[in-house]
Amino acid sequence: MNQIATPTFEWMPLAPVLAVLLAACVGVVVEALVPRAYRFVSQLGVVALGLLAALGLLIVNYFAHSSGIMAMGSISLDGPTYLMWGSLLVFGLLSMMVFAERTLNNGASAFAASAASVPGSVAEAEATAARHEHTEVFPLALFSLSGMMVFVSATDLITAFVALEVMSLPLYLLSGMARRRRLLSQEAALKYFLLGALSSAFFLFGMALMYGYAGSFDYRAIDAAVLAPTYGHGLLLVGTGLMAVGLLFKIGAVPFHNWVPDVYVGSPTPVTSFMAICTKLAAVGATARFFFVALGADRWSWQPMIAVIAVLTMIVGVVLAMSQTDIKRLLAYSSVSHAGFILVAVVGATVATANDPASSVASILFYLLAYGFATVGAFAIVTMVRNSAGEAHDIDSWSGIGRSNPVIGAVFALLMLSFAGIPLTGGFIGKWEVFASAWEGGYAWLVVVAVMASLVAAYVYLKVVVRMFFAESAEGVSVAKASLLTLVPIGVGAVATLYLGLFPGPVLDLMTASSVFLR
């Protein structure tokens, strides 16, 4: 007789996720109960409290050495989970500070006064005149963040899929809420939603086949099935391929990258920043876990596939970035190319040993950390460079910014150099480690390709630096005064970029030490 087991749930170890979810729910209640005038401040408080509490709980758990497969085999709390949760919380906090910036836009946030009104309509004008604002963005972002946290730690496919949707749905909404150029923003949201839904369908179909192959959704059961197969290899291959479509879509890898530029450009810049860092981090984390834990024994099948995708992603990303004239579009293609560099490490599938500390997971995490800090700073600066119509996205209009604003110019140049992987920045150490782990995994040729792509990428970023420092200043564009909510993320981004470049030892050691997925 089948007994239904009593569900178990490890409250304390999983408290960081719960704290974020709780904060999101409290945010919804705040929307309903708190008078409009106080909502903004209350939401900020909820976000700060929720995320800091989550970080605190995470640290407490880390030092209590709690780990294991939890929540009835659906969530794995292991070294990579700790690191990814920590990164997600830090980057989430920094991004949401930029969400809250109101100084740049004459006391209004970057989000539409009334997202539901038709652009150009009377309703919109009224909402703007009444200085309404959507404080719902904060709970939405928190819901998305909690989805990401579960996504990176999920060890069964159902949990992973639910987390994927929890993470994506708020993002679809958020990307349609820009205050300026609303039609573009709504188009972006629609595109993102349709393509995202399609990719989820692929993921789901892949899941079904995977279930057919392994008879379970559990990653460990899939791993066991790969080692002792009951059915033919074809089912596994098709399942892997379809699931890879869903995952690579979220990562923004070629040929599933088409949404990236449009969505990045259309979304409000703070949301773009949040997507560029946190979504990528979550998707990469989940991909690595799925491929390494569930399909680790079958890596000979998927390594060549990912290798081809990595090559395509790097090359398409950097080549298309070369011809961009819009800074957000350039950063979008740059984020595509970074996805390619990260996939290089995924292909390597190297595990650290006592003799050889090169590890794919650690290098991916380090790369994401360096990329995240540079991205958060770069997008925060994008929100500050403005003309009379709002943010100035045309790269030509950035001319001379470096000379009129040496500090902002120097910081942006530093972040670009980190993207380009120039030494003394975190980006260099990230690239170096990623390449080392790929070579260690037997993919030296991929390293050569990646290095060539890096050169083209360097050209892309340096072109921006050249414009900022050596071209004549453009008319009517200036760096607006921002409050600490923008300046702190920029400062943190710059300092962390330098720190990771100059003293990477402790962080690398920490990542290498906690780079093993629990099986």
């Binding site: 003799n355 050889d356 500390p357 090169a358 000379r403 009129s404 040496p406 150099l417 120039i422 030494p423 003394l424 260099f428 690239k431 170096w432 390449f435 080392a436 070579w439 260690e440 030296a444 390293v447 050569v448 290095v451 060539m452 890096s454 050169l455 360097a458 050209y459 340096l462 072109k463 050249v466 420092f469 050596f470 071209a471 003293f503 990477p504 030892g505 690398l508 050691d509 290498t512």
Partner: protein, 503 residues
């Protein structure tokens, strides 16, 4: 407590660069000069300690699990390069004292970038950990990029980008090899290590060693501009200020030849010998092509750049003769070329600042109006063509002697370069300095060399003469490096066949 002299040596200019971020405007030049001179003093102290046999090397964990260390050490060649750097920087600052600033690029920024560059290049010459070397090697590009792009001619931004892309391309090829070293040292040593002391003498599979060596070599060939990847150099020098050119050609391009000896020969001796025939041919092409291009140059700055291409050909030739004379000569050449090119660039800079143009055709009869300036130009030029009595003669002779002892025909071809050097120097002197003073010359050349300009040139000429007459001052220091390198490669000097004399 022992003082970490080598760390300190690079730290002093770095502190200066940071201090120059303060809003001090007019004081910037003086503060910059103070730090440059302080670095010179520390450099001299380090040299004295080294000569007296003090052990200066340090090794501090940086990324220990990944085998990367903050490891600095000094050998004869490194000392030569460090001394060259610490001497040239104050000279450059003095020469660019009157730098005019286009737009927001103030002289303060210039001085700060020069000091930053000095710090990074000193660490590059001192690093005895491959990853650390790579880090500083690439990092020097950033201040140099802004120095070229921020100060100089109208096309400077494009020139800076060209310079950077060439250097980055070379550097990234080297990155592949640096990563390869990580992987292979882990396989062969049981743990990854970037320390030169660990890596030297490790027996790698022949194929791997050759591929890795090629990666390093590509970066160094681009850096020590050899034909056909030299094209960034004339553009860069034409557009940047003479001071920047001195730092670029005099100091930073030396990292190319320096790296060939320290890394290509040191880490991959077999592979280096395998590559030697190609390198010798490339060197010969550089020597001849650089000289011919110099003869054909209509722009003084481009001319000096091309003479350097030719001279770098000699240095590389010396290295790949695998003889004591050749390698010592090459290292000595690196030092001499630094001083003589500095003199040439800076004197040309003084000429250009008066005439307002760098075109050879726009000068004429300058020696009639400003004889001292013309005299400086002649001395600097003669040093460039390796006149006996000047230091570059000794080194060029050693390189040729080394080449002759291995393969006489190589030396024979290289000598053509020496002849052509006389042509380009004498011809440019004739066209710009001699003859009747043209109207434009009389109009623009109103003052002869000022006290500041004399203070720039005189120290350089003194060093050139001193080393010309007493080359053993430098050669005694260089000699141990040469001996170490020769033993690492495992070659001995060819013995001249006896009994051939008088036949």
């Amino acid at each position: 407590m022992t003082i970490p002299w080598l760390t300190l040596l690079g730290l002093v200019p770095l502190v200066g660069a940071i201090a120059l971020m303060l809003p001090i405007k007019e004081l910037a030049r003086y503060l910059g000069m103070f730090f440059a001179l302080l670095t010179l003093v520390v450099g001299v102290v380090v040299a004295a300690l080294y000569v007296n046999g003090a052990s200066l090397g340090i090794q501090v964990p940086w990324m220990p699990t990944f085998g990367a260390w903050w490891a600095l050490n000094l050998d004869g060649m490194g000392l030569m390069m460090v001394l060259l750097t610490v001497v040239l920087v104050p000279v450059v600052l003095l020469a660019e004292w009157k730098l005019t600033s286009p737009g927001r690029w103030t002289p303060q920024v210039f001085v700060g970038l020069v000091l930053l560059l000095e710090s990074l290049s000193i660490y590059t010459f001192l690093a005895s950990d491959v990853l650390l070397f790579y880090l500083f090697f690439e990092a020097t590009l950033i201040p140099l990029y802004f120095l070229i792009g921020g100060f100089g001619g109208p096309q400077r931004a494009a020139a800076a980008l060209k310079f950077l892309l060439f250097s980055l391309a070379g550097g990234l090829v080297m990155l592949v090899s640096v990563i390869g070293l990580f992987v292979w040292s882990a396989r062969l040593l049981g743990k990854p290590s970037y320390l030169l002391t660990d890596l030297i003498g490790v027996a790698m599979p022949t194929d791997v060693a050759r591929w890795l060596m090629v990666g390093f070599l590509v970066a160094f060939i681009v850096k020590a501009p050899m034909v056909p990847v030299h094209t960034w150099l004339p553009t860069a020098t034409e557009q940047s200020t003479p001071g920047t050119s001195v730092l670029l050609v005099g100091i930073l391009d030396k990292i190319g030849t320096f790296g060939m000896i320290k890394f290509c020969l040191g880490l991959f001796p077999e592979a280096s010998q395998w590559a030697a025939p190609v390198m010798v041919i490339l060197a010969l092409i550089s020597i001849i092509y650089g000289a011919l291009a110099a003869i054909g140059s209509s722009d003084l700055l481009r001319l000096v750049a091309y003479t350097s291409v030719s001279h770098f050909g000699f240095m590389v030739l010396g290295i790949y003769t695998f003889t004591s004379a050749g390698i010592s000569g090459s290292i000595f050449y690196m030092l001499n070329h630094g001083f003589s090119t500095a003199a040439l660039f800076l004197v040309v800079g003084f000429l250009i600042s008066r005439r307002g143009s760098a075109k050879v055709a726009e000068f004429g009869g300058v020696e009639k109006v400003t004889p001292v300036l013309a005299g400086f130009f002649l001395v600097a030029g003669l040093s460039g063509l390796a006149l006996p009595g000047l230091s570059s003669f000794v080194s060029e002779f050693m390189v040729l002697a080394g080449a002759w002892s291995r393969t006489p025909w190589v030396a024979a071809v290289a000598v053509i370069g020496t002849v052509l050097a006389a042509v380009y120097i004498m011809r440019v002197y004739q066209r710009t300095m001699t003859g009747p003073a043209t109207e434009a010359t009389v109009k623009h050349f109103t003052v002869d060399a000022t006290a500041r300009e004399k203070w720039v040139v005189v120290p350089l000429v003194t060093v050139i003469l001193l080393l010309g007459f007493v080359p053993s001052l430098a050669l005694n220091v260089i000699e141990p490096t040469t001996r170490t390198t020769m033993s690492q490669i495992g070659v001995t000097d060819p013995v001249a066949p006896l009994g051939e004399e008088g036949k």
